[in-house]
Point group: C2
């Protein structure tokens, strides 16, 4: 199915010169023909980039006309000048559609600790303005303009009927790890023509991000620029969504966010496996998430999967140090459907068969079942390969 852009949004992506490689897009512009509501969810890192500071101060609110995006430079750890640069970048984007500077938001990703090349980006945004479109190619170009070491662009879309209206939710994101030297961050931008209040937009986005973008990890290193924005321009018409209609919208938003978020570890640096970790039978979702994240961040679990090693001891022991109380005697574990551990004790299994199933599939499924409650979570991560180390250790390349 072809990717549709929500009504009233147009976009483009170009090569502005921030990146040296001429074939790489590095600057994108997204414009809403009518003022849009915007909500945002940002990195929890105390050391956050200038675009995060700007967007966080401006959202949730309404009246937005543009989002300026660049890759190749994160505008992070750049002090007061960095914040002024981000404001200038927003103003340049707003100017292309006759709006004022405060009506735009900014997303930057790339090298930490360098100032952005404002002249190149301003020219790039003007070039984008001349190419704006609402077709699939325009969407993909805008998504390509935010890529760093991503090997594929990442877009997702859903169309849903809500009452008499058809609502479109379309998003893009980037992210493959933090990468050599000093590269960073995951960015997401989701657009919809649904009519939403700023408060509803923020509540829906926050809820959805918690179970999607906050349930992925490549290397456990939280970046300075992580941002997910939702823009809702109401072009589908009608009154602001509420009640059951809002829940329907949030369900579509969840699907788009989940598809986008899963695409990040699937494109993880050097990764040979996408690992899906389900932790079930917990007292709370946050318990389940903490255990899943601890397993996902274990270098020993990740290398075991890379080596097709059905090493249940590493998985169970990682759960044990997650800081969440549970009864170890009520733990079950399956890997790729094979039961390896039941009620706190190992069970006999055909190690070669399980190893083959890991080696021969890109997807690895880990299901850890506790006996503490009924809450559960699904978390996505990658394996850890020598290629990841090489990509992140090669300073002089």
């Amino acid at each position: 199915m072809s990717m549709q852009v929500p009504q009233g949004f147009r976009m483009a992506g170009v090569h502005s010169g921030v990146k040296r490689n001429l074939s790489r897009l590095d600057c994108s512009l997204v414009v809403s023909d009518v003022p849009a509501v915007a909500a945002g969810v940002y990195t929890k890192n105390l050391v956050y980039a200038a675009p995060v500071e700007l967007d966080r101060a401006r959202t949730p609110s309404s009246g937005f006309r543009a989002v300026a995006i660049n890759s190749g430079c994160a505008n992070a750890c750049t002090g007061e000048r960095g914040l002024r640069d981000a404001e200038q970048m927003a103003a340049a984007a707003a100017a292309t559609c006759g709006a004022s500077g405060e009506q735009a938001l900014v997303l930057s990703t790339g090298i930490i600790g360098e100032f952005i090349a404002l002249d190149k980006i301003t020219a790039g945004l003007q070039q984008c303005a001349a190419q704006l479109g609402s077709d699939e190619t325009s969407l993909i170009n805008a998504a390509r303009g935010m890529m760093t070491t991503d090997t594929v662009h990442k877009v997702a879309a859903r169309s849903i009927a809500i009452g008499p209206r058809t609502i479109q939710v379309t998003g893009m994101c980037k992210g493959a790890a933090m990468i050599a030297p000093n590269m960073g961050t995951m960015l997401g931008l989701i657009l919809t023509d649904a009519p939403l209040s700023p408060a509803s937009a923020q509540a829906a986005l926050s809820a959805v991000v918690e179970d999607t973008f906050n349930c992925i990890s490549v290397d456990g290193h939280m970046s300075t620029n992580d941002t997910v924005l939702l823009l809702a321009n109401g072009a589908a018409g009608g009154a602001e969504l509420s009640g059951k209609e809002l829940a329907q919208f949030q369900s579509a938003l969840f699907d788009v966010a989940e598809e986008l978020s899963r695409a990040i570890p699937a494109d993880g640096e050097g990764a040979t496996h996408l690992i899906t970790i389900q932790v079930v039978g917990c007292k709370s979702r946050s318990d389940a998430r903490q255990i899943a994240k601890t397993i996902a961040d274990s270098a020993l679990v990740k290398t075991a999967v890379a080596g097709a090693d059905p090493n249940w001891g590493r998985i169970v022991s990682a759960a044990g140090y997650a800081g969440i109380p549970f009864d170890p005697k009520r733990v079950d574990l399956t890997v790729n459907g094979f039961s390896l551990y039941q009620q706190g004790a190992p069970v006999p299994f055909d190690a070669d068969k399980v190893s083959s199933s890991i080696r021969d599939n890109r997807d690895t499924s880990i299901i850890l079942t506790l006996g503490e409650g009924t809450e559960h979570i699904t978390f996505f991560t990658t394996d850890l390969t020598a290629e990841y180390v090489r990509l992140n250790a090669d300073y002089h390349t």
Copy 2:
């Protein structure tokens, strides 16, 4: 200086057959000629091994005559039978010196999820009993009997005058990471002829471990078997240490524990750098430790050091997600004595010069200074290399 064994302790290490390689020692016995006080600090992992369960229940207390040690099998995740096996192993060690089963402790390390070969270990302990010695060779053999993938044995000793007495503190430990397949754990055993009450021994050990063995990490994966034991047999004579004398003893204990603990990341799997992370200017030591540990566990910081990349952004951003509040505008960072970041902003530096200093030295120094207080910590870790990944991913070797 030659390594002295505290008065009244004798020891040995042999090949019992738990490991296949005949040149590898895998079973050690430490005997105290008179009943000793014992204190222990254990893994915080909820999933802990049978020897941990046994030792934790028995310490701190007095009357101990023996410690039985084996490598090659961790006796972890082995249920009730594992606990009975650990009791049998303790009893076999106690029997060699005519003591009862409860007068011994057990240390095991190696593969998780397999039962120990009690017959081989019992025979090994008897073989040890026939070879007990108090010279440096006996000490080193006992230390070799607890090694897994360690490339060197790890011992340390201090002799101090306390009042009219000379007190000896001598320790051994093992650890290089958790390793393929299913290997694990760090173990430490520290002996002294100082007279200590069980409560003083436990308090001194707990305090010292917090700032030594709890300040190291290789891959951030807490094992199921981590144990540090202190045995004090009082053979140096005199009354139990207290007050200033106890403080003097604790200082020597700290030196031994620090030297031993530092030897573990120095021998980290695949490591090409020992990284010393000092975090200073914190509100509390636990704040400092949490920030240091977060930096130490970042795959991106570790790969940067492996690649001789003076990548301050990765270090500062790791501190930012440690979960400890601080003012990012009051952060300074030096690497190998070069100032890279001051008062929350990058400073110009000669990247090639800093890179050379990382590449050309096995030791890397990272000093992160916050402006929050006066507490500080020193933490040791390794870099992350493709060799580490290969060691931990090679299931079929």
